[in-house]
Symmetry: C2
Subunit: 192 residues, 2 copies
Amino acid sequence: MFQQLKQYIERFSPISQADWEMLEPHLSQRVIPKNGLFSKEGKVCREIGFVTDGSMRHYYTKDGEEKTTYFYFENSFVTDYISCITGKPGALSIEALTDTRLIVFPYAVLKQCYEQSHSWEKFGRSIAEYLAAGLEERMTGLLLYDAEERYRQLLNSNKRKILERIPQHLIANYLGITPVSLSRIRNRAAKK
Amino acid sequence: MFQQLKQYIERFSPISQADWEMLEPHLSQRVIPKNGLFSKEGKVCREIGFVTDGSMRHYYTKDGEEKTTYFYFENSFVTDYISCITGKPGALSIEALTDTRLIVFPYAVLKQCYEQSHSWEKFGRSIAEYLAAGLEERMTGLLLYDAEERYRQLLNSNKRKILERIPQHLIANYLGITPVSLSRIRNRAAKK
DNA sequence: CGTTCAGTTGACTAAGGTCAATTCCCGTGG
DNA sequence: CCACGGGAATTGACCTTAGTCAACTGAACG
């Protein structure tokens, strides 16, 4: 039942049966309905989720405006990582965009796994490195390219599924622009 | 001689004497003169540096323009982390802003430490998490705040030493704006 | 059908960039 | 000690990009 998660974990670091048994008893399933929240700004996030079906977004709020920084689909972890590791209230919210099925476990359990098993620790390192690489890419995208270039990069990246599955106003938000601007960019791009 | 590095490492994870001895024989010292490079765009970065004295910056090049994303001072690691972990050519360059003294070791050695010791692996996880947290903060800064707000945040952050030790045109670059704009922002701020 | 919400389009605004002239600061050589 | 040269910072005039506001279209759904 939780094999999908185990397989995904093993893409980062192989996990023995004994290791797996440290985590498995603490896994549970959860369904978050469309527009429901997994994590909420101002609250400490104590759980890790693994999306088995559905989609979510991860956003900050500023002056009442939401700024989406990430989307999640099947086969990815979802959590307010910063809040988990610092234990402080999170600065972001995570919302289901469709009815979403998750496998969930407490971060505290993962932390124990880290302490008790070198393999789990290695997994932890790998996932943090993977995260850092993704953030670096996102950060440089914002710093180096303008809105139109960012849109074209999205078109040509392995993130195509964002374009296919996410409504345009959220894509605009993700690109750091307004829906109006994205519409114009698409318009200009189509004319060439 | 390398105690400064050991102490810094132990802020992330305690390291036994035996662990330390895995790394120590591979440490060396290096001085990079002002404007010299530690890592170069297009080349694989295979080393980790630890700044004991001096300052460096970390920048990308786009259309012949340099975009500075980080500064380094005493007591920090410096490397093209992404290039190290992926083994691919780096997208960024790292330059000494003043004559800079470093302790240097090969990433390959660190990788071996990770494999052989749970403590080192924990250090690796911690450092990656620390890095991810920093990148997240930087990314959200760019996405959520305009140039003036970013400048004020820098004023009120623990990164004050950037303002004290870095020339203004590089600070502007770091904030994602031109020196001209930064000058105007400072002018406006002073009038209030 | 009418309501609602996403997307498009037009007119105007604002933030920041570009270009160029000027001033300031500082090191070097006469 | 002073004069000069060069890079950093400032300032003014103008331009470009994206944001704002508002009207309109169109598809989805009760």
